[in-house]
Amino acid sequence: MTTAAAHLGPATIVNVTTLAQAVIYSLVAGVGLAVAYGVAVTGTAGLLDAVRSHRTAVAIAWGACVVVCAAVVVGGIAAGIIVMANG
């Protein structure tokens, strides 16, 4: 490391904007997709319970919830791969 570099602060050495973006992307994708999948799992359980107890409206609501969450998970994964591949 050069003498000048030795006097640089951490913010100069690190590209804070890029690092912050990486952190935010990780948090949003990691927590967002995991929670969406969790809602899909609980929705599937709710859907099965509702079907078993013949509560049609509740079953439809849970079914819609599962479809939306599954779409979010699949779409999120596909979007992530496309963004990565396109650099």
Binding site: L27, V31, V41
Partner: protein, 373 residues
């Protein structure tokens, strides 16, 4: 002639490193899926292997960071690239022998920096880039994975707490196939690129590639992808046991959260060109998923040993890289030094294999909460 022979030795060494990387890091990718029985060991390793291969083709930003970002490309020689690889492989094998999941990525970067320091001194290393693109992300990434897994599992437990456990378990077991697959893809993306970076460095040193118009040739991508996927398939049972059962005992939701957190952090970081360690990240995710449920669920002693291995990796691989360069340099500037070192390394490898065979090993651990069946 000497230069071409040297280039071939470097490429073979790089692909050997890539193979050990896959072999060493299989645990990171498959431990959670196997320990919760979401997948059988064989299926988990086969899926991981295929997706490692596919992942290598997704992005090249990490390869560019390794090839042009951390050292002065103009001063790199093929011998330096070779010594860097020897340092990384030596450290990888040593930690594999003692079942410590250290970082292959940081071993490689440590090897590159160590060999470069030995060959041309501090002027050849971009110190700021090493700190900014390797060291700081290395410190931050496990913490982010810890946080992501911790938040995810807390919310998930809140969501599914009133549901039938059998149904929930089945749901997250399926989820682990997805999150494990994403983790394997992420591993292939980030880790195979480091080998591509070193091969590209050697190609630049050889004059086959221009540092001004840097690009990674397709054959390099394909070769690195193949080597890492074959290494992954060969597996690493001992490290799988450390990661899968000795840090925490996981349920399927925790495994899902840990793998999802790992995949998200590695893919996001790869997109920005950070050469992260999958080992660091998934270990952070596993600990986060465990700590969110109960702090005492994490075996902090084992986690502490892993942290020590991490801290040792950069300097130790750097030292090995420097020693390899000094040895190669002492034997002359041509292909003779690397050739002699390669032969010695093969001999040591055979000795390691014999030592390993003499120890009592379990090819598929029979721990009920653990891996293998």
């Amino acid at each position: 002639m000497h230069s071409e022979l040297l280039l071939v030795i470097v490429i073979v060494a790089a692909l050997a490193f890539d193979f050990t990387n896959g072999f060493h890091d299989t645990a990171n990718v498959v431990a959670s899926s196997i320990s919760t029985r979401a997948l059988s060991p064989r299926a988990a390793i086969a899926i991981a292997s295929l997706l490692n291969f596919a992942g290598a083709f997704i992005s090249l930003k990490v390869a560019a960071t390794v090839a042009t970002g951390i050292v002065d490309t103009a001063q790199v020689t093929e011998t330096i690239a070779f010594a860097a690889l020897v340092g990384a492989i030596a450290w990888n094998l040593l930690t594999w022998l003692y079942a410590l999941p250290s970082s292959s990525s940081h071993a490689l970067i440590g090897g590159v920096v160590g060999a470069m320091l030995a060959a041309v001194g501090g002027g050849g290393v971009h110190g700021q880039a090493v700190v900014g693109k390797v060291v700081i992300p290395a410190i931050i990434s496990p913490a982010i994975a810890f946080l992501v897994a911790g938040i995810s599992i807390t919310v998930i437990y809140g969501l599914v707490s009133r549901r039938r456990p059998g149904l929930v378990n089945r749901g997250f077991r399926a989820g682990q196939v997805i999150s494990g697959s994403m983790l394997a893809l992420a591993h292939g993306t980030n880790d195979a690129q480091k080998t591509m970076g070193v091969i590209s460095l050697a190609l630049v040193a050889n004059g086959s590639l221009s540092s001004q118009h840097f690009h990674v040739p397709l054959w390099v991508v394909a070769a690195a992808a193949t080597a890492i996927s074959l290494g992954t398939y060969a597996g690493g049972w001992r490290i799988i046991r450390t990661l899968g059962t000795r840090i925490i005992k996981m349920d399927t939701a925790q495994g899902f959260s840990a793998q999802g957190a790992g995949a998200a952090v590695i893919l996001a970081s790869s997109h920005f060109g950070y050469p992260l360690s999958t080992t660091h990240v998934i270990s952070g995710g596993i600990m986060g998923a465990g700590a969110a449920k109960r702090l005492s669920a994490v075996r902090w002693g084992v986690a502490g040993n892993i942290v020590v291995a991490w801290m040792l990796t950069l300097p130790a691989a750097g030292l090995f890289g420097a020693v390899a360069w000094w040895l190669a340099h002492a034997l002359g500037s041509g292909a003779l030094g690397p050739l002699v070192i390669a032969i010695i390394a093969l001999g040591l490898l055979a000795a390691l294999g014999i030592i390993r065979r003499r120890r009592v090993l379990e090819p598929a651990p029979a721990n009920p909460g653990g891996v293998g069946s």
